[in-house]
Symmetry: C2
Subunit: 349 residues, 2 copies
């Protein structure tokens, strides 16, 4: 096989898209800011109820200013986009406020933790041409995932039949893990918060949003002192086009792994498979791909060769009111499955 | 981690257990004969309706004699064990005849293809102290699988939570693939014939025979000309102790792989995981193990270090009428799940 790459170029003049960050509860905010700035964004304002969180982000982006209220930012006409990693069950509420202020909104996953929140966001979206974007970073920040999409489209593994995903994290109780981290009502639960990443990949790589939950399980094996926390979860999905999905997420990785190294997405097709994940890379790089098909077997380093098309599209969507980065119908399908998986899960003792 | 091994020793004087082979439809018969001879068995007779099959086996075991009828073998008092790889839907019938003749029976998987056959075998077993053994060779012929069992017992990966299994085969139509190969009524179907191997491993490694089928799927993606054949299958299991199982079996491996190299069993526990399979061995050896736990990560070559305890136990069971190699209740649990998975499978178009 020959591997060819088309690299994303910065779509607009640097700084053209002015954005602000409100609600900084998850560290993902840093990557979101960085990726936006790389693609033409400029972080003008930072706000969080907790001034220390705002100061921490400013350290990374010294040109940004800390604002004393969210309202002030929402009134700044120069700001076209508000981004947030506020606690998951508050993401919809903030998004609605942002949309009503005539701005685009870009939040971390999981963006909504109840069906009511989904409906409330949909209602507001009907009244505006602004967007509600979500960062499903497992795929959106992964060059190999974008490259896999291209290869699958080109038929490299034939018809997709099964998507196996495992993602194991190290759980170390520390100061960054505050109340909401251990409360599934606030974070959407393990199948919501982490599961939605993998559900998103399933819908994407299966090419089918009409996907049903077959079953799901949740368990708290090693963290009894947090009664509203799960450290193990799995689920099975079946798409209307026949693609079977098996997903596991957990907080049980040995501490020495120090991260989510054991993260594998195996997309199995009629003519071969593609495996994405940190697993195959001794350097700890997450943009690696293993592909095996009728032509042979390849270990491909994708880092730096593709860029992040999602961020390019998102910046353009904000400037030109197009809708190419991520459609809300897709977000809705993902989140509904995640909420269902979390709610219907068999609790394993 | 320190790895210590206890090797199986030949349990009896060589040739002590006299056995015969009747019905040689699957090539697994060779490994069954070899493993029995290594552990003290002596192949006295060979019989198949098709004399050519008998001759082919005799080439490998020149001391054995080709017999002109099965009945003659069943009357030979020296023979304590009959082994068979006859077509799957005939295995129970032959087994019943063997048991009624006062001999032990050892057949390839899948040993029974209907619930009626299971009941018929059970009825005969109630009347005899002889045994109905089954070769689930994926585990029984794999030293790493036995070693994994020991490590799990010793707590190396904590509580077992999920068992992920994939097994992909190359499908090449050739002369060895006759009528029964393409007829799921005769071979038990893909979830029966292959699936039962993996179900057996699930019940074994979960330590729980009370396991339910959650869902299963069958498809014929690339072999339309065989209407009663499936080349893709998967299923989900859930054990009463909470162990979740995901199984895929298929005939879709690229031809150049030439075998079942992409064969992985990942046993995920609360303190780490063990992965068994050919995948990790450049030499194509199937007795390799990858273990990752709190102490570190290890790639362990088990070949030659353990031997095959199953065959040692089976030989002793035949000689002393003990029941240590494989219990019929275990076989029954495996086969019932396999039949259910095959019967209830959603047929993916």
């Amino acid at each position: 096989m020959k591997f060819q790459y088309e690299k994303v170029i910065v779509p607009v003049v640097s700084g053209r898209l002015v954005f602000a960050a409100i609600g900084l509860d998850h560290g993902h905010i840093i990557a979101m800011c960085k990726n936006l700035e790389v693609h033409g964004g400029y972080l003008k304002w930072i706000y969080d109820e907790n001034i220390n969180k705002a100061k921490m982000l400013k350290k990374q982006f010294p040109n940004a200013k800390i604002c004393s209220s969210a309202q002030e930012i929402l009134c700044d006409k120069e700001v076209k986009l508000i981004i947030s990693t506020i606690v998951p069950n508050k993401r919809a509420e903030l998004g609605i406020e942002v949309l009503k202020a005539g701005k685009n909104y870009f939040t971390d996953k999981i963006p909504m933790t109840s069906l009511d929140q989904i409906e409330a966001v949909k209602k507001v979206l009907e009244t505006t041409d602004k967007h509600f974007f979500v960062s499903f970073s497992k795929r959106m920040n992964n060059e190999a995932a974008f490259y896999a999409t291209e290869l699958i489209k080109a038929g490299a593994i034939g018809r997709v039949l099964q998507i196996l995903q495992v993602e194991t994290h190290t759980h170390v109780a520390n100061s960054s893990k505050t109340e909401w981290f251990y409360d599934e009502k606030m974070n959407g639960g393990l199948l919501g918060d982490f599961g939605c990443h993998l559900i998103e990949q399933h819908l994407h790589f299966s090419g089918c949003e009409d996907t049903k939950l077959i079953s799901s399980r949740l368990s708290n094996i090693k963290n009894d002192k947090y009664p509203n926390f799960s450290d193990y979860a799995d689920m099975s999905l079946l798409s209307a086009n026949g693609v079977s999905g098996q997903i596991r997420v957990d907080w049980l990785a040995p501490n020495w792994i120090n991260g989510w190294r054991e993260d594998r997405t195996t997309i199995f097709g009629s003519e071969g498979y593609i495996e994405l994940g940190k697993f195959y890379d001794e350097d700890g790089n997450e943009n690696d791909m293993h592909i095996l098909n009728g032509e042979g077997e390849y270990f491909v380093k994708v880092a730096g060769k593709i860029g992040l098309p999602f961020y390019k599209d998102l910046v353009l969507d904000c400037i030109y009111d197009t809708d190419n980065s991520i459609k809300f119908s897709h977000i809705e399908a993902v989140v509904k499955l995640a909420i269902e998986a979390q709610e219907k899960a068999i609790r394993i003792k």
